[in-house]
Symmetry: C2
């Protein structure tokens, strides 16, 4: 990992710094943005499209963001390296994809049993979260901005119900990130595979279970045709998407364009939450009509997962000071927030 | 009401249309914005301040919004009329203040047992809510934009606990809007008074109970010193604030400035939710430490309130076609959303 980073940094020093540099000359600013999503994908690519459109409108056409969908210029998961090396100006992707580079990214992505969207926003904007994230990004020559929050993601699709802790033993499940680290400790064989491969793997019993996103995107893949049990949320309560600039591209922008981009990113961020809400609700009704059974993991499973999270956090904190620092900020903010969320929003949902 | 509106419209025809008109000449655009809040008020005035600052930054200083705090140019609740008549360009205020002008505004403000913030955002941005609101605004020569959502507000402060429905009979409570109409049907003497008067009225037993906002703003007033019981939310789950332009002021802005203002308003909108979340959580901890008892209204009280809401809605719908139209859109969207919110977010909060 270290060697690779060194090579990236060396590459950056000689990389052509892109069109932003022309800003100071008063010419049109053209930015290249790669995304990790296919064209026309709701919630994810739609957020990137909206952002680019708004930036164009607000600058009266003076700033133009050209979008490169997954694979059209950079591989879907190659966007971080391409921006870090200054080959393109920015990308739109999901933060947890980079936890292999530095486990601290998984904290900014949202964690199991962690903050819900409003808590995450409060941490990012009023609790120092965004500053910490940018401090981490600076080590990789990138400058992150909020790029969307999906809100609640579901616990995943299972072919057989999980009635007790022992049912997890030997289960083969596709799940990434901290959720996977937790389930591994409980005997699950966790695997990673790209989104497009999951359906067939479930159908052919290569895996027994998989998480994906939430009702709208899950319905469009058709998981309900190959797995009947749909579990409620625990491991991704508020997953973060991001617009991430190369630091030199960012620094080269005049202040009014930086302001336009930052405000547009914050608008796009909440628009993703709104679009998720708007699309998930009717999709869930549709899934229920098609016979999907919604279940919540039993208390002993959740208790074991919480205990395992504590172990994972202790291990990562010992290995990685960046993780430790991010986790301490995140978890102490959550500790302060969660009683109010339960008393305010939680009680209201019970009352309504 | 009708006569007054006629006079306003007549006045508008001759009112000087403000500085926006200078935009086409390429000069600096100066906009006058009145607010309903005192200077330095967190959550409410801070949102207006943030919006004005961001608009200035994004336009590179070409657009300047001058803020007039409550009473400094226009009375706090006179902002709607002043903007409607074209005396100033825009205001920042809360939507439920105008339900006396047209009861349909109370729907866009958020209703008892109604949508939570993400549902409201989904309705506004993806469910036709904002378009309907602007259709209503056009009747008053105003163009509304999102201006903040407080998220969950609390049910209010009570000197004695409400243990059963009969305890409401004869209770004197300060509460506005649809919440007041509901409680009136259950025998509560509802009264309205400005924020600054509530504390003394409670202290001197002029009233037995009052709602205000949520922990952060409630703590700063000090209600916990004169009423011990703090009830959880039911009547204001997601109260809307608004930036509202005079329609001619809005139409006079070049498209890039309209885009800057719209995106800034959407960023400011969610920033208020984040600021509320960030401030309410520690304030609630503080209140609990000071001996406040948090209670939830008993099931029979909530059932009676839901029944009364049905009656209020039927009455208003019969009287006011604007209300009927807004309610039908709002309530059918909520009906589609609420099961997902409970299954996704609600179950997660129970699991966490």
């Amino acid at each position: 990992m270290k060697r690779r980073e060194f090579i990236q940094k060396a590459a950056l020093a000689t990389a052509a710094i892109p069109a932003v540099a022309s800003a100071s000359s008063g010419k049109k600013i053209r930015l290249k943005m790669a995304t990790s999503w296919p064209a026309s994908m709701p919630i994810l690519q739609s957020t990137a499209d909206y952002f680019a459109k708004r930036v164009g409108e607000m600058s009266g056409g003076a700033m133009e963001i050209k979008i490169y969908h997954a694979g059209s210029l950079v591989p879907p998961l190659g966007v971080f390296d391409a921006v870090s090396a200054g080959q393109i100006d920015l990308y739109h992707s999901a933060t947890y994809y980079w936890s292999g580079k530095n486990s601290a990214f998984s904290v900014f992505a949202g964690t199991p049993f962690g903050m819900v969207d409003n808590e995450m926003l409060a941490w990012m904007r009023f609790g120092g979260g965004l500053e910490l994230w940018r401090e981490l990004g600076a080590k990789y020559n990138v400058y992150p901005l909020l790029g969307g929050n999906t809100g609640i993601q579901m616990g995943g699709w299972f072919k057989k119900p999980v009635e007790k802790l022992a049912d997890l033993k030997g289960l083969k499940m596709r799940i990434p990130g901290l959720g996977a680290q937790i389930l591994s400790k409980l005997g699950v064989n966790t695997v990673m595979m790209a989104g497009g491969e999951i359906y067939l793997a479930l159908e052919r019993n290569v895996i027994d279970a998989s998480e994906w996103v939430a009702p709208a995107l899950d319905l469009s893949v058709g998981f309900h045709k190959v797995a009947k049990y749909y579990y409620t949320a625990w491991h991704e309560p508020a997953s973060t998407a991001e617009f991430v600039f190369n630091t030199k591209s960012w620094a080269g922008l005049p202040p009014e364009y930086q302001a336009i981009i930052e405000v547009a990113s914050q608008d796009a961020n909440v628009r993703m939450t709104a679009e998720s809400q708007a699309r998930n609700a009717p999709a869930m009704r549709d899934l229920l009509k098609q016979g999907v059974e919604v279940k919540t993991f039993p208390a002993d499973v959740m208790a074991a997962c919480k205990k395992a999270l504590g172990e994972v956090v202790a291990e990562e904190s010992a290995k990685n000071p960046d993780f430790k620092k991010a986790w301490e900020s995140y978890s102490s903010f959550l500790e302060e927030q969660k009683d109010w969320t339960k008393l305010g929003l939680g009680r209201y949902l019970e009352t309504r």
